[in-house]
């Protein structure tokens, strides 16, 4: 188990290294920040000074080496715009995105699994069919439109939920969190629901497919032949088998939810990382873009690792394979 984790970490370093090259080169072939950041009135000398200051006069490989050296020390460069460490900028915005994404994933579980279970147990019932039809909408409606509709209905027409910002925050570990106050939770509800709509549909369909697939299995019939209650058969025997794919998908989706919260954050003016990256791309603030992308890469690697470990806990067959 330990050797397995170490091996995975070792592999991950290579992935990170490869990603730095791709991200660094990718960001440097699009646009020139000099044109945007330096005011047209600046004279030649000042221009050269600023370019040198940003390190843009160096050849690309030298810039990369410099970046890598800094990265090893935990320094991903300074923002051209804010003149602050890029990592610090991202770290400031991260809690907002994180709590939004985690809440969204929790929503997908709490809504997706029970709905999918119901649809799987009663596939021909009216409610079961309605759930499945609804999940198609969840997949296909564009997220920004759903966000706007949510605001229209709950904030404008009914006036029951706030539409922008994080609301009152409470500080924990030196970081402001919205989920600790009632007002913050109220602010978070709509963006989180908006963000989770796709995942709810995904989890719902996965769960339903799993139930349909597992129910006719012999071990379910045997469990019933043992005289177990229907609740025990479904919630222990069936559900535990289904949770394996659901956890995998949800884990992977947590990464994308964080990475692509951009739209939801824009619609609900949620001050998270997504908002930051959009602004940074607009002004070609390279260090922030690079730092953000690196963060996301690290995030995906970590999540994958955690999912694999969870997998081992849920599925004993994988556990044995890992040992040998």
């Amino acid at each position: 188990m330990i050797t397995w984790i170490l091996r995975r970490l070792f592999q991950s370093t290579f992935v990170v290294l490869a990603m730095t090259v791709i991200v660094f080169v990718g960001v440097h072939v699009i646009g020139n920040p000099v044109d945007i950041l330096i005011s047209p009135e600046a004279d030649q000398a000042e221009r050269a000074r600023i370019i040198a200051n940003m390190g843009l006069d160096q050849p690309l490989w030298k810039q990369y080496a410099y970046f890598l050296g800094g990265a090893l020390k935990g320094d991903l460069g300074r923002s051209f715009v804010f003149n602050e460490p890029a990592l610090k900028l991202i770290a400031q915005r991260m809690p907002a995105t994180l709590e939004l994404a985690v809440t969204a994933v929790l929503f997908s579980m709490t809504f997706g699994v029970p709905l999918g279970l119901y649809a799987g147990l009663k596939p021909d019932g009216f409610l079961g069919r309605t759930i499945m039809a609804g999940s198609i909408l969840g997949f296909s409606l564009p997220s920004f439109w759903v966000g706007l509709m949510l605001i229209m209905v709950f904030a404008v027409e009914l006036g029951v939920l706030p539409s922008t910002g994080r609301g009152t925050t409470e500080t924990l570990f030196g970081v402001p969190w919205s989920f600790l106050t009632w007002d913050g939770l109220r602010h978070m509800f709509m963006p989180a629901l908006n963000l989770s709509l796709f995942n709810i549909s995904l989890v719902l369909r996965l769960t339903r497919a799993g139930v349909r697939e597992t129910l006719p299995m012999d071990f379910v019939k045997f469990a019933r032949a043992k005289g177990l209650s229907p609740a025990r058969v479904i919630f222990v025997h069936v559900l535990k088998n289904i949770m394996i794919p659901v956890v995998t998908v949800l884990g992977l989706e947590l990464g994308s939810t964080i990475a692509f919260a951009v739209v939801t954050e824009s619609v609900f003016a949620w001050p998270g990382m997504g908002k930051l990256i959009i602004d940074s791309i607009n002004v070609l603030d390279r260090p922030v873009i690079v730092a953000y992308l690196m963060m996301i890469v690290m995030l995906f690697i970590t999540i994958n690792l955690v999912v694999d470990i969870l997998y081992m806990i849920l599925d004993p067959r994988v556990r044995l394979g890992g040992k040998s």
Partner: protein, 322 residues
């Protein structure tokens, strides 16, 4: 001696979109305490559905459409699900064909055994665990304490079937329905499992319904044999009667198909054709299209033409010599 279970004119039908499938149509038999009934037939003859009907696990679109299943004065065919559940796994147990599939792959053996104990008896977890361990030991699993903590994939097929048997026998049931439990196993393991079930059933006076398509399996085990064809019992009697003097042409054909019964170098005997679709069963004897003895008389359904304890549905019974 009163019968442990008595099945009378059982009809289990599947109401599909394509029509009504009469998987079990007018089946009657009874099994006494400690007795072994062999239920023999080809795939699709309705033998498994008969088993599921008794334990009340026929899934929609199927349901028991007629007849009765008498157990201790109660009719299981109409018993409310709640009462049925308290019998299931307790007084009436079942083991299945494929041991690779009957145990839940993600739950430990102890979980799967203890839940069975607790489903019917109000005992402590420790007591339930103790009983589970004893049951594992009883079916011949070495170091049962350790094995309780294992997962199904850590067992071989034969061992898994032993675990399934241990689970089925946890409450010393009055009736055990064995649905081809040795079909998926090696011959040597088959023999061990057969002997074990026979021994345990005899010990507790458990009545046994052994469902199989393999006459050679049942030959040494069953007290009585019922042969099913297309949802009906076509012939039943004591094991000796059926095996030595089969009267129905179908039984005769089945016995003739066992390779060891054929002479070496001779072509194997076989029953021509295959089981008819239960959706479009013609009137009359269902076997007549495959039967060498069929006449115009067979176009009406034969009733019992046997004598005494011997049940037979045939207008043209075979002569005594098999």
């Amino acid at each position: 001696m009163t019968a442990t279970i008595e099945v009378r004119n059982l009809q289990t039908h599947f109401f599909t979109r394509a029509g009504v499938v009469k998987a079990v149509d007018d089946v009657s038999f009874s099994v006494n305490r400690g007795e072994v009934l062999g239920l023999v037939g080809e795939s699709g003859s309705g033998k498994s559905v008969t088993g599921f009907s008794i334990i009340g696990l026929v899934d929609p679109p199927g349901r028991i459409a007629g007849g009765s299943i008498l157990y201790q004065g109660k009719d299981l065919a109409t018993l409310p699900e709640r009462e049925m559940r308290s019998l299931r796994g307790n007084r009436i147990a079942m083991i299945f064909q494929d041991p690779m599939m009957t145990l839940n792959p993600v739950l430990r053996i102890d979980t799967q055994m203890i839940e069975t104990v607790l489903a019917h008896d109000k005992v402590s977890r420790d007591e339930a665990r103790r009983r589970s361990r004893d049951a594992l030991g009883m079916v011949g699993i070495p170091s049962p304490d350790e094995r309780l903590m294992a997962y199904p994939h850590q067992f071989s097929g034969g061992m898994r079937q032993r675990v399934a048997i241990a689970i089925a026998l946890l409450h010393n049931p009055d009736l055990l329905i064995a649905d081809e439990p040795t079909t998926a196993l090696d011959v040597t393991i088959q023999a061990q499992i057969l002997a074990k079930v026979q021994e345990l059933a005899a010990e507790h006076g458990t009545a046994l319904i052994w469902i199989t398509h393999d006459l050679s399996v049942i030959a040494g085990l069953a007290d009585r044999i019922a042969v099913m064809y297309a949802g009906r019992v076509v012939e039943s009697g004591t094991a000796a009667e059926i095996l030595d003097t089969p009267r129905h042409p179908y039984t005769h054909g089945l016995i003739g198909s066992v390779p060891s019964r054929n002479k070496r170098g001779e072509k194997l005997r076989q029953i021509p054709g295959m089981t008819p679709s239960l959706l479009s069963l013609p009137a009359g004897c269902a076997f007549r299209m495959r039967c060498a003895h069929a006449t115009a008389a067979c176009e009406t359904e034969p009733e019992n033409t046997g004598e005494g304890t011997r049940f037979l549905r045939c207008f043209h019974p075979m002569e005594q010599a098999a």
